[in-house]
Assembly symmetry: C3
Homo-oligomer: 142 residues x 3
């Protein structure tokens, strides 16, 4: 297997980008999460879903999705692992990442589900990393 | 969301620091764990606890805490994820990290609880990274 | 505890190497996985097992092991955490890594077991990182 040599500074940047991006999501800072996408960014949380596009569109999608937790004091945390990058001819970066969702309620134990794979296309520009598109596949659906 | 550009060498250093620090803790090498704190370091394993201070104080706290496992052949492993760094005006680094505790007993399956967030203040000096203070919050308590 | 200063570019390389290596394994690309070992590489998936040696030997071992999943539409994902590196006098790198195996079946929830520790010897050469030997220990057996 040939692993394309990674620009190691970029690898750390991507890891750090994901740390802030996902902590924003889990803290309910949806505008901050959406701002980690490009202006025309696309976010599809499962293969059957209609992708949310543009930052306002992504915020609207997240607000809608989180209605189900309105009276539920739940804390969700998205864990990532094994960030595999591949450079694309157009200068973007394909990023394939394992994800687990950890869910905790007051006094409860963590539930860990589902197991997913995040398929991102990233852009690395002067203002840092941005997500151009994100598709999340779910292992239990395959 | 503006993610402060990270010194990528420092990001790798912090990741590697945590790997050694937490493997020391999980192996019961409490003096090694305490030595990853500054001389006046502070370690508070939950918001209600009195912080243990100084390296000898941290060792004493760990010895006390692990009494409960004296006749229990348990292996605990602290997993970390999404290390988010923020530079502070005083030159220290605020580090916010997801944590899960994996617990295994002979012949058993891993239990994964609790889900926590580690709130560290780190110092990066000539001898590498040190933890100045650590507060651990627990998701099931919030 | 003295943490040997890490060449931070190498640390990122190792992380990225593991991401591609383990995504290859979990996708059933056994030849790709074996190609991440040196020509004379050794892979021992538990302390009692006979090590598989050489790339063809590793592929054969993986084919044999995965027979048990032949009629089982299972997706396994190996998660890694806390990669701790130590430089050896012979120029190789000892790498000690926490691992959890996530197993998902269609319509099911992830099972997370076993909890392991991966003990690798790595070589960093012109063609990137390669695994010279891997021994996996299992927490529930200790």
């Amino acid at each position: 297997m040939t692993v394309t040599p990674v620009r190691t500074d970029l690898y750390s940047q991507v890891q750090h980008f994901y740390a802030h991006q996902m902590q924003a999501l889990d803290a309910g800072r949806f505008a901050d999460y959406a701002a980690t996408f490009t202006e025309d960014g696309s976010f599809q949380h499962s293969p059957g879903a209609t992708p949310a596009v543009t930052r306002p569109g992504i915020v609207a999608e997240l607000v809608e999705f989180h209605r189900r937790f309105e009276n539920d004091p739940v804390q969700r945390r998205h864990w990532f692992n094994h960030i595999a990058l591949e450079w694309q001819p157009d200068g973007t970066i394909r990023s394939t990442v394992y994800a687990l969702v950890v869910t905790v309620r007051p006094g409860g134990k963590p539930e860990i589900a589902p197991s997913c794979v995040v398929h991102d296309v990233l852009e690395a520009g002067e203002e840092g990393i941005l997500t151009r598109s994100r598709l999340v596949t779910h292992d239990q659906m395959s």
